[in-house]
């Protein structure tokens, strides 16, 4: 048995040491928000935080992770999806199919922590995740929106939000 610190809780898992963290999260712990896209660290759909560092979990063997390293997945990023990045994503309706978006959000939230006011080139460098639907421009806009505290001033995307009891 291996002990991990996942989303602030100690979890015991029974998996071979070479098992990628991605599949430990998905199949041992039931945390399916982290996605399989390529298995070779190309697409970023499997991105989680490891001690705050965005990490591609599909190539990270279980054996290389210590019991005190803090793993944060999309499910543990914030209570009820209230991280500023998640709120900006909702404000601008960023996801299309949504499959890559957990990885995008984990990469973007790590970027904002390291650089609260990222430049376009900071965003280019940090956001190497693949999106086949093509959400890149809204991802960029949402990172900037979160960086300016959610202030919609200057945001060119016009979306009407009608929230009700279903929200």
């Amino acid at each position: 048995m291996t002990t991990l610190n996942v989303n602030g809780k100690r979890r015991s898992v029974d998996a071979e040491p070479e098992t990628p963290l991605l599949w430990v999260l998905r199949e041992q712990l039931g945390l399916t928000g982290t996605k399989y896209g390529c298995g070779i660290a190309q697409c970023g759909a499997c991105t989680v935080h490891l001690d705050g560092v965005p990490t591609r979990s599909c190539v990270r063997p279980l054996s290389t992770i210590g019991p005190n390293e803090k793993i944060v997945t999309i499910e543990g990023l914030s209570p009820h999806g209230t991280h500023p990045i998640q709120k900006a994503w909702a404000a601008l309706d960023v996801p299309q199919c949504g499959y890559c978006q957990a990885g995008m959000i984990m990469a973007a939230s790590a970027l904002l922590k390291a650089k609260p006011h990222p430049s376009d080139s900071d965003i280019d460098d940090a956001m190497t995740n693949i999106c086949r639907c093509g959400t890149y421009n809204r991802v960029r806009a949402a990172i900037k929106l979160a960086a300016q505290g959610g202030d919609m001033k200057g945001v060119a995307i016009h979306i009407q939000h009608i929230e009700g009891e279903r929200a």
Binding site: W23, T32, K35, D93, Q96, I130, R132, T135, Q160
Partner: protein
């Protein structure tokens, strides 16, 4: 929860995967009828009627009609037949129903009826097929009528209760008002009574200019769970006792499985079984997918590679090249006598273009969960499948066929797609595989997930074509004759050969058809001939987002640019001269050109290129701005795009589709290529099949300009103008004409 499952996870609630879907096989009335589903024509089916039963149970949530359910708390559940895969039509279709229903949008939720329920109710929801940008344009009328009929019944129920004429009552935001007395009630309060009324046969639909919900840039209904990891995709499905399978199909198309050493896999932890799947594949079933996948990788497998083991991209290209001048070809569009006019032309111009195979590369690989159960007597009893699909009915047909059961003993539950792009619609090869595996593990649900490598090498690929274009000009440089000879693969020949009539695949001519409402050419040429020499390699083709419009628009729009430059004319002015009879094509072209500043100086070092086309019912145009450094590095700065889709149901989602179309189209133009070596695909993952990344993404300015009077799609057409607009701008910047896709094979470095 009603019998139909929620399509979105917007509302908090119990785990939607807690085993509550499906209609128990032992209840409900049974009807029999002859039905046609997908390509399984003529199957005799018998289905239960879950909704009918639910609607007559007093405690149940009242179904006003097939499209609308109203709960006592005024929550409105709108049923959506088409699949959501990111394109936003779940929200758009709900807007159309809600508009006519006059309900409170803040209390709208959606759910999918199942394909089995659709057949049981004589296809009351119509087609489930979600492709060809048809989700909204093909179903808008009957879903709006569904909303209008439900509103009429709700108002009538209120009027009946008040004993007043319905004409004295009006509805808005789920509240019904009796105008003379000022009395009010809500949809939820009258829903049970309304559900008992006979639906009106004829209802008037609103004029789109009066729309309050449709036509507005409303936020999507399905965003929230995509931000928290709560959204369940096909590959995320959890079921009690679920097993996992990994599969390898013969890498050479048309080859077969020869042998495998199951003992190697069976000796590994968690492995339950190794199974042959059809005549060409082998799968390992294990407790976890990681165990199944690694055991499969470790297991020796031998293939009978069959007759195609020597085929290469070069040999395919030779076959296509021969078609460019072949005497036999099927005509798709012609007027005048192009051959004669070309023979007599004062000046001629000729060019050959080509387009490679491409994989859809959805972010979520193909997957399906299947459960096959056997009765106590030992006879096969039922097969259920959970899968992301663009066409639930076709998935049900594939399930029934693979299970060897009538569709009445099968069901498909649609799960959210991690991308579709045409891969998950016409052919359900992965569903067939999942069912064939489950048949060998009766009683146990088995989830089959393809590795990325399996997905890349067993796609249904964007077809390969080449095109020779020949133009003839008169002495004044006016275009007099144009011949486009397309040589290459027919998608229909691979996917639905029964639709090939007299050797003609009409879909080949997308964007090049004679004037009309679908995919028509925007240019009038005195002598025109567009024909196709069909050449079908062994690689299976598929509908790849944008389909044949993609390469046809590159061919025509780049060659138009060549013609303009060859005759020293401005590319916009040259096009305008040929577009006098195509005002809608011209309007979007003008809009994009004007917004981009065509004819005014671009920033230093920046060059512009144009493209326009019409397809999937809509008119689109783009103006791209690029620069190319001395080292040959391309930067695409900005693309201005204009779209006339007739009506615009949700403008902010149209903008999202246009931006996404540029990512898809530019990924294809810059990088997209699957090459064939030894009969199989060479590219196996995103390292060898790169796609556009964020740092390469241009600014996109979208002009949504619905001119009314028709319904066009928006998920695909813009893809077609992405590449030619950029390629024409590259020519303007470098003088280099790229005629062979993808761009990455060409150096743009100044010679």
């Amino acid at each position: 929860m009603s019998a139909a499952r929620r399509a979105t996870g917007r509302r908090a609630g119990p785990d939607p995967l807690g085993g509550s879907f499906g209609v128990p096989a032992d209840r409900g009335a049974v009807i029999s009828r002859r039905a046609f589903i997908g390509n399984s024509a003529g199957l005799v089916v018998a289905f239960h009627i879950p909704f009918a039963e639910a609607a007559t149970t007093p405690a149940a949530t009242p179904e006003i009609n097939a499209w609308v359910v109203v709960k006592p708390d005024d929550t409105v559940v709108i049923r959506i037949a088409r699949s959501e895969m990111g394109q936003g039509s779940l929200t758009g279709l709900a807007q159309l129903v809600a508009e006519e229903l006059d309900c409170n949008w803040a209390k709208v939720t959606t759910e999918y009826p199942t394909p089995g329920q659709n057949l049981a109710r004589k296809r009351v929801w119509g087609s489930f097929s979600t492709g060809g940008s048809r989700g909204i344009r093909e179903s808008n009328e009957y879903v709006r009528k569904g909303g209008a009929i439900a509103r009429t019944m709700l108002v009538q129920a209120a009027a009946d209760a008040w004993k007043v004429p319905a004409a004295e009552c009006s509805a808005a935001a789920s509240v019904i008002t009796h105008t003379p007395s000022g009395r009010k009630t809500s949809y939820g309060k009258v829903a049970l009574a309304a559900a008992q009324l006979t639906p009106p046969t004829d209802v008037a639909l609103k004029d789109p200019k009066d729309w309050k919900i449709a036509g507005k840039p409303l936020a999507r209904l399905d965003t929230r769970d995509k931000l928290t990891g709560a959204q369940v995709y096909g590959s995320d499905l959890k079921l009690p006792g679920l097993l996992n399978a990994a599969i390898k199909d013969c890498p050479v198309f048309g080859g077969k499985l020869k042998s495998f050493d199951a003992s190697v896999a069976l000796a590994r932890r968690g492995v339950k079984k190794v199974v042959r799947v059809g005549d060409s594949a082998v799968a390992v079933v294990a407790d976890t997918w990681w165990h199944a996948k690694t055991a499969l990788d470790a297991m020796p497998v031998e293939w009978d590679e069959g007759p195609n083991a020597q085929v290469s991209s070069a040999s395919i290209a030779e076959v296509l090249k021969a078609g460019l001048d072949a005497p036999q070809a099927v005509v798709g569009n012609s007027n005048g006598d192009a051959r004669a006019a070309l023979a007599m032309a004062a000046r001629k111009l000729e060019a050959v273009y080509s387009y490679p195979y491409q994989n859809h590369a959805t972010m979520e690989t193909m997957n399906a969960t299947a459960k096959f159960t056997v009765a106590k007597s030992g006879t096969p009893d039922r097969c259920e499948v959970w899968t992301p699909t663009q066409n639930g009915e076709a998935a049900l047909a594939a399930t029934a066929e693979a299970a060897g059961l009538p569709p009445s003993q099968c069901e498909v539950y649609k799960l959210l797609l991690g991308g579709g792009f045409g891969r998950r619609g016409a052919v359900h090869d992965w569903v067939t595989q999942a069912v064939l595996i489950a048949r060998q593990m009766p009683g146990m649900p088995v989830k089959l997930i393809w590795s990325r490598e399996e997905d890349m090498t067993h796609g249904r690929y964007h077809p390969v074509t080449q095109c020779k274009l020949s133009a003839g000009f008169d002495a004044q440089g006016n275009l007099d004759a144009l011949h486009m000879r397309i040589s290459g693969q027919s998608i229909l020949a691979g996917v639905a050969p029964q639709n090939i009539k007299d050797g003609k695949d009409p879909v080949v001519f997308q964007g090049l058809n004679a004037p009309g409402p679908e995919a028509s050419i925007g240019y009038t040429v005195p002598h025109l001939l567009i024909d196709h020499a069909m050449r079908n390699p062994h690689v299976p083709p598929g509908f790849w987002r944008g389909v044949n419009l993609n390469h046809n628009t590159i061919y025509l729009e780049c060659f138009i640019d060549e013609m303009a430059h060859a005759t020293q004319q401005d590319p916009l002015a040259f096009r305008r001269k040929l577009m006098g009879k195509s005002p809608k094509h011209l309007a979007v072209l003008n809009a994009a050109a004007e917004r981009a500043g065509w004819g005014t100086p671009a920033p230093a070092g920046v060059y512009r290129g144009l493209a326009q086309t019409m397809g999937f019912g809509s008119y689109v145009a783009a103006c791209a701005e690029v620069s190319v450094s001395a080292e040959g590095k391309l930067k695409i700065h900005r693309i201005v795009a204009a779209t006339d889709s007739g009506h615009a149901v949700n403008p902010q989602q149209i903008e999202a589709q246009v931006e996404g179309s540029f990512v898809y189209g530019l990924s294809a133009a810059l990088y997209g290529e699957c090459t064939v070596k030894d009969g199989r695909m060479v590219q196996t993952n995103f390292d060898t099949y790169p796609v556009l990344h964020m740092d390469e993404m241009p600014k996109v300015e979208t002009i949504v300009m619905p001119s009314g009077g028709f319904w066009g799609g928006v998920g695909e057409p813009t893809i077609a103008v992405a590449a030619p607009a950029v390629l024409n701008a590259i020519f303007a910047a470098t003088g280099q004409r790229i005629r062979e896709m993808p761009l990455r094979h060409h150096s743009l470095k100044k010679a």
